[in-house]
């Protein structure tokens, strides 16, 4: 309203100016520049929040839970700042659709910036300073990596900016009401300041470039990892495989875990497991206690579930529920595992809770009918695959190697399916447990050898040439092995350099992994990381 008033005054002062020139003049003012800057910031913020961070936030939404129900939110409401985290979680639900969630973030950031400028009464030439708080928040989201939502309250992601916007908004309204002279003079607004233009032209792109670069530098795995998780939500295993292959040099335990799920689901575990770098870079993340933590349980539920160890998945997801409170991720798994366990009443309980969360109708429509018609469980491709891979003898989780997933298969000795034999053999290759590997290979004599298994056998044939007679199909692999051994010989004393220099040529070739892969895997999970703290019988 003020702006209009000022413009009207200008019109009265310059009646002779042609209308077009007048319009152009009005536009090329600091106000106009600022408006363009705000618009540009909004568009970039929307792009950043929906495209660049869309998958990250989508997974944050899955690891969060909000329902407009006092019983369900009671545990959170009683925590310090619980009301704020509830608001934050409510806002995060819009990330069910990243474009919509991104729009909300863009609105929050833009409003926050506008209010900042208004409340601080920034001179026009320094108007670009108002974007700094938003930039700081974006930088924070990039800096915390997995701790954005894992082992930390997900409600703070949007709860804090929401609170800031509300406070600034209240401040702005109070300023407006209490101080009628707050608006800047028309003269100041209309003086074109090159500092302002340059400042905005530089600062606005920098606001987004900085967090993007920072995320790429410190948590490069975040976007591929969360992208694979989103693909897993849609059972897009081929897509997960593609995502991993698009970043073959990027690997940590989490990415490797999801990659293995994709391969297991598409029957390519023995063909492609070693296609990506399996070096397991240390990630920068912190546990509940504030100490560095590799977040080893981040992906263990997904891995165990898809390896058929749904009881072990239940164990860990129940622990996540206990420590972090309800999340959609945990509740959905608990519902699905209850269906697999034929605990139909229990499944209905979880569906009843999930139904209270907004936007989860699709999940309910897909799975809830199975609680009334258990025969649908067997017919569902995902469940059928999990049940097919599930252990068929009674045993205890404690009897198998940790972590579950391939650890379980590496200690299997009898197999009910061809897949179980293949997974177990590949698990031995992955663990470089060659005697165990050879034991399992005897069962492949009459069938075609999967790629990695053939390569592992060829490697063993160097020490045991008789293998070439048992498996004549190894001849082709042996030729490549000779080349590899020749190329690898200079690096016997410097495996790290060899790992880097030979990677492009030999990625996916098992002997490369055997000699150069997983060599920095020195991190051994502590008792605490394995979850033995707070242990007790409940």
């Amino acid at each position: 309203m003020k702006d209009k008033g000022n413009k009207n005054k200008q019109k009265q002062k310059q009646p002779s100016e042609p209308p077009k020139a007048q319009q152009r003049r009005q536009f090329i003012t600091n106000t106009g520049c600022e408006q363009v800057g705000v618009l540009l910031f909004f568009i970039l913020a929307w792009l950043w929040a929906s495209w660049w961070m869309g998958d990250v936030m989508r997974i944050a939404y899955e690891r969060s839970f909000f329902a407009a129900d006092a019983t369900l939110m009671h545990w959170l409401a009683q925590k310090s700042f619980g009301w704020l985290w509830i608001i934050g979680r409510a806002l995060l639900t819009l990330y069910h659709w990243p474009v919509v969630g991104g729009l909300l973030v863009a609105v929050l950031l833009t409003l926050g910036s506008w209010f900042t400028g208004y409340c601080l009464r920034l001179p026009s030439k320094f108007c670009w300073l108002k974007y700094f708080p938003a930039a700081a928040w974006m930088l924070w989201t990039a800096d915390v990596g997995l701790n954005l939502y894992y082992m930390r309250e997900p409600g703070r992601i949007l709860g804090v900016p929401f609170l800031v916007v509300v406070i600034l908004g209240a401040w702005a309204i109070l300023s407006k009401v209490l101080s009628r002279r707050h608006s800047l003079s028309a003269e100041r607004e209309n003086k074109l300041s090159w500092i302002s233009i340059i400042g905005q032209a530089v600062i606005i792109p920098l606001c987004f470039a900085m967090p993007m670069l920072h995320l790429q530098r410190t948590h490069r795995y975040m976007r591929p990892l969360t992208h694979m998780q989103v693909q897993l939500l849609h059972n897009d295993y081929e897509g997960m495989n593609r995502t991993a292959h698009e970043h073959p040099d990027l690997c940590n335990r989490h990415v490797a875990g999801y990659y293995a799920i994709a391969l297991a689901r598409t029957g390519k575990l023995a063909e492609q497991l070693f296609d990506i770098r399996l070096e397991f870079d240390t990630i920068r993340a912190y546990g509940y206690d504030g100490l560095p933590n590799q977040c080893l349980k981040y992906h263990i539920v997904d891995c165990n579930y898809h390896a058929g160890l749904y009881r072990a998945a239940r164990h860990y997801v129940m622990e996540a529920l206990t420590v972090d409170g309800p999340s959609l991720y945990a509740l959905k798994y608990l519902a699905k595992i209850a269906l697999l366990d034929s605990d139909l009443v229990l499944a209905r309980k979880y569906f009843g809770i999930i139904r209270k969360a907004p936007f989860e109708g699709e999940f309910i429509r897909k799975y809830e009918p199975m609680a009334a018609h258990p025969e649908l469980v067997q017919a569902d491709p995902e469940f059928a695959a999990v049940l097919k891979a599930a252990p068929y003898r009674h045993s205890f989780e404690q009897f198998f190697l940790k972590p579950g997933f391939l650890g379980y298969y590496s200690s299997l000795k009898d197999f009910k399916t061809k897949e179980a034999l293949e997974w177990s053999t590949v698990a031995c290759l992955y663990g470089k447990r060659m005697p165990d590997f050879l034991q399992r290979c005897s069962q492949f004599q009459d069938s075609a050898l999967p790629k990695s298994i053939a390569e592992g056998l060829a490697l063993q044939a160097v020490k045991q040439p008789e293998l070439l007679q048992i498996f004549p199909q190894l001849e082709l692999v042996v030729n490549r092995l000779d080349f590899f051994l020749n190329d690898a010989s200079p690096y016997t004393q410097d495996k790290e350099r060899g790992a880097v220099e030979l990677f492009e040529r030999y990625k996916g070739f098992y002997p490369y992994y055997y000699y150069f892969g997983n060599i920095n895997n020195t991190h051994k999970p502590s008792e605490e990381e394995l979850g033995h703290n707070n242990a007790g019988v409940n």
Binding site: F396, Q398, G531, N534
Partner: protein
């Protein structure tokens, strides 16, 4: 200002209209015209044909009918309406009058549902009102169902005559390293909440022992004691507690219809003197597992469970034990206790479960001295996780043992507590969904017959469906715990535990293992 006033008026108007709409969708009288239908109304919780105490809180329930948009329930003349959510919220004053009128009798409940074609009435069901009250309070722990970690735990005391819940103690809501502690196993002396104990594990560990509004924290620890006291029971007459001391572990089943097995690798029995802060061994045996001690009503006999360590060959003891977990069969034994000399007599077998390849656990004697209530399952002593666990009663006068057939369910029914008049029990059951333990109440008549159990009523009948925690260790008491939450917190968090003096073995008039 004018605009603000206008907005305010609009808001009030909208709210009033919304309230009117809401109220109008909740009928307040019986429909004048309806059709009888033969199918029973689907209600939650299942309160059909249950026997209830005359002092119980309103038994609100919800009708599950996705077609109907309104409901009316006629509870012996008390009319309650419900909107589409089907939640019947009974007026507490009318409910109390109804129960006093029907004490020793029964009343019918008719449910009417408004479907698109008009009102229908489902067949009525009965609710029986016993003559005897139940103890007014039940104290329980809320915890996620099973698994190894804990976070936000609380012990709460619920007033059974209404819906009031008082927090006895909550550990922590936020994760704070060095502060994490587990709380469990609370127990009252003879249903009197003036005297109780409460265990704290990990940080701030110890056992809080209260006497009225006084409380102190003690620690049972000695080289010869396996661990601090676990399952315990107050002598009803003396300031002493019999504890088991257990080395407990849990394992997770693969490919089995149960999820978890909890077993002991070792266990013995202790006697703790609360006045002197002294502890001594009652039984200490390497090849027998003794646990779940419980005093008789007059305090002159101690019941307990005992299992012989099964034979196995394994390099690792625990691994061998896990492999033979289903060979651990507990019997219930008892020993006479001299209340003057504090000595025990020779043990005698009370419940011979092992001879049937079954296992008896969690014995609890009725305050009138007539019955011994226990749980029976295929193996082990932690029957919470055993789907086949049932409640059994031993008639101590007749010497007969029998299941509480009407009270039990297909799923696990276990840990129980008697009301001080011996007519009511509250127990843990997983009957609803085989995962979340809930507290059920059942009437035990003078002949020792158990009646159909009912779920602890809640103001919102949907509460149990939404709660992601189990009700653990329900204990009945006649009165409220006099100690406030702040006092309890102070004792747990800010006082040092006094180490109990170890006094060796309690005298035995005829020593030896059962």
């Amino acid at each position: 200002m004018d605009k603000a006033l206008l907005y305010l008026r609009c808001t009030v108007l909208i709210a009033a209209v919304a309230m009117l709409v809401c109220c109008s969708s909740r009928p307040s009288s019986l429909p004048s015209a309806f059709t009888e239908v033969s199918d029973s109304a689907a209600i939650y919780p299942d309160y059909r044909d249950v026997t209830i105490p005359p002092n119980i809180a309103p038994m609100n329930f919800m009708v599950i009918d996705t077609v109907a948009d309104a409901f009316v329930a006629d509870l012996g003349g008390v009319i309650c309406g419900a909107s589409a959510d089907g939640k019947i919220d009974i007026d507490s004053t009318e409910w109390r009058s109804l129960l006093q009128e029907q004490r020793g009798k029964s009343f019918n409940v008719s449910v009417y549902a408004h479907r698109p074609q008009g009102w229908v009435r489902h067949p009525a069901f009965a609710i029986y009102v016993a003559n005897e009250n139940i103890d007014s309070y039940v104290t329980y722990r809320l915890i996620e169902p099973g698994y190894e970690l804990y976070m936000q735990l609380g012990i709460y005391q619920r007033n059974l005559t209404n819906f009031d819940v008082a927090t006895v103690y909550e550990n922590h809501r936020d994760i704070s390293p060095g502060e994490s502690h587990c709380i469990n196993c609370h127990k009252f002396q003879a249903n009197n909440a003036e005297r109780m104990y409460l265990h704290v594990r990990e940080n701030h560990k110890g056992t809080v022992v209260t006497n009225g509004t006084e409380a102190h924290k003690i620690l049972i620890k000695h080289d010869s004691i396996i661990a601090s006291g676990a399952y315990g029971n107050w002598n009803p007459k003396l300031p002493i507690v019999a504890y088991s001391t257990n080395k407990t572990a849990q394992v997770f089943h693969y490919n089995f219809n149960e999820k978890i097995e909890v077993f002991d690798g070792e266990s013995d029995l202790l006697l703790y003197d609360a006045d002197r802060n002294e502890v001594s061994h009652i039984i200490r045996t390497p090849d027998h597992f003794e646990t779940f001690p419980c005093w008789s009503a007059d305090g002159t006999r101690l019941y307990y469970c005992d299992a012989r360590l099964p034979k196995f060959e394994a390099q690792i003891f625990e691994a061998g034990l896990v492999a033979r977990y289903d060979s651990l069969f507990y019997d219930i034994w008892s020993m006479p206790f001299d209340t003057v000399t504090y000595s025990f007599g020779p043990p005698q077998l009370e419940v011979d479960a092992s001879s049937m390849n079954l296992s008896a656990s969690e014995p609890i004697a009725s305050p009138d001295g007539r019955f011994l209530l226990y749980s029976l399952a295929r193996c082990g002593q932690f029957h919470l996780y055993h789907r086949d666990a049932d409640l059994w009663l031993k008639d101590l006068q007749e010497g007969t043992c029998y299941p509480l057939a009407e009270t039990n369910s297909k799923e696990g029914d276990s840990y129980s507590s008697w009301s001080s008049n011996s007519r009511w029990i509250v127990f843990s059951s997983r009957r609803e969904d085989n995962d979340y333990t809930r507290s059920y109440i059942a009437y035990i008549d003078a002949n020792g017959q158990g009646h159909k159990a009912f779920l602890l009523p809640q103001r919102d009948p949907e509460y149990n469906l939404l709660l992601l925690k189990s009700f653990n260790v329900p204990e009945l008491s006649r009165n409220a715990i006099p100690l406030g939450q702040e006092q309890m917190s102070h004792v747990i968090l800010f006082t040092d535990a006094e180490l109990a003096t170890y006094k060796g073995h309690v005298a035995r008039s005829n020593s030896g293992n059962p």
